[in-house]
Symmetry: C2
Subunit: 199 residues, 2 copies
DNA sequence: CAGTTACCTTACTTGAAGTAGGTTACTACC
DNA sequence: GGTAGTAACCTACTTCAAGTAAGGTAACTG
């Protein structure tokens, strides 16, 4: 039999294998709870190999993230290419994004927000903050807007919270933007989409 | 002189002091790079005291987060209370949020997204993903929309990315929502705010 | 089939989280 | 004012995971 049973593998192949397994372990246990010994054992190789190829635990994580990053970029760029107008470009891009995260749940969860805290009390606590803000907004909306479904209101609230979160970080890079600017600015972008449409 | 030079402090006071210092250390060095020994030394107390009061490193982080959380809730609830209509309620809430993060930069950075990875290559990498998406959207917008400023476009792009990020997590809790639903849904909320307003 | 390279290992060091058990200063009551 | 009790505090340890030094072995190459 010519069963190629070699334990020794070429570097590139071993690297791919390591990244795949690491991605799974990071996603499942969270970054800090995942140990290099465990990953090494799952790969079927000893720990120094991981360090040989990725230098550090974070280097390994980095490789996992880069893989997802590249895949996401390819998906969305392709989707958007050749769209006839702004609206359809936006739609295609959004669709590609949501399709991607649907197909790469594991990989995505490695890099979605909490990172090292998935499943830990601290992560729950941070999430609780967003939930509190979301609830507040949802309550406001169901007070003021009658004709909308629960789901619609809920999603809109998530939407606002996410957008604000992000814009907050953006503001840190733009010192010239005051809180008033930020609030007014958010309104400009947001309101026409959220306001009653029959006016 | 009646300089009360007591090193011993009542528990409540010491706890507050510990939280304040821990918040600073976590924000500056990042969660995982911060050591309990260092925090203890800065407080002027030995490590077991931290464990006596907060049980674990994460417990201490939790206390920091809870403090910010409560402050944020109070601010926004107060701001929104008694608003005459939806638009002004939204505006007041947004303003309160942005004012808050302006005033609590340190505390906010403890809980804003990366958490344990602030300043590390992995955090940069994750941020790079968002930047890549933001750039893509901004490029689209400056192609299709003529009359808007760079800043306006940039902020709108950040906005979209943040909203999508958040909505993606929301989708994980709602299995009945397909990618198509998500994309269409995002469009519904978003488009009227982003579309040319003179139509 | 000998030499070289590249894959791989065992066995260590280092550093930080968390703990066991003892000590000191404030307080309340005689 | 002394003394018992307790709340605040400490030193010195264990444990566990990241990262490393130094060397072994399979596979290719002339």
């Amino acid at each position: 039999m010519t069963v190629i049973k070699r334990k020794r593998m070429p570097r590139a192949e071993r690297e791919r294998q390591m990244i795949d397994i690491a991605e799974g372990v990071f996603a499942e246990r969270g970054y800090s709870a995942a140990s290099m010994d465990d990953i090494a054992e799952l790969v079927g190789v000893s720990k120094p190999m991981l360090y040989e190829y990725f230098n550090s635990k974070e280097g390994l994580l980095l490789a996992c993230i880069r893989q997802s990053r590249t895949a996401l970029r390819l998906s969305t760029e392709q989707a958007v290419a050749g769209a006839p107008d702004a609206e359809s470009a936006l739609y295609r891009g959004l669709l590609a994004f949501f399709v991607f995260i649907g197909e790469h749940r594991q990989g995505w969860s490695v890099l979605r927000q909490e990172l090292s805290f998935i499943g830990t009390p601290a992560a729950e606590e941070v999430e609780e903050i967003r939930r509190q803000q979301t609830d507040l907004i949802a309550a406001l909306m169901s007070t003021y807007f009658d004709g909308r479904s629960e789901l619609q209101i809920e999603a809109s609230a998530e939407f606002v919270v996410g957008a604000c979160d992000r814009l907050a970080i953006w503001c840190e890079r733009h010192d010239e933007v005051t809180p008033e600017d930020a609030a007014r600015y958010t309104m400009d972008v947001l309101w026409r989409g959220l306001a009653p449409h029959d006016s």
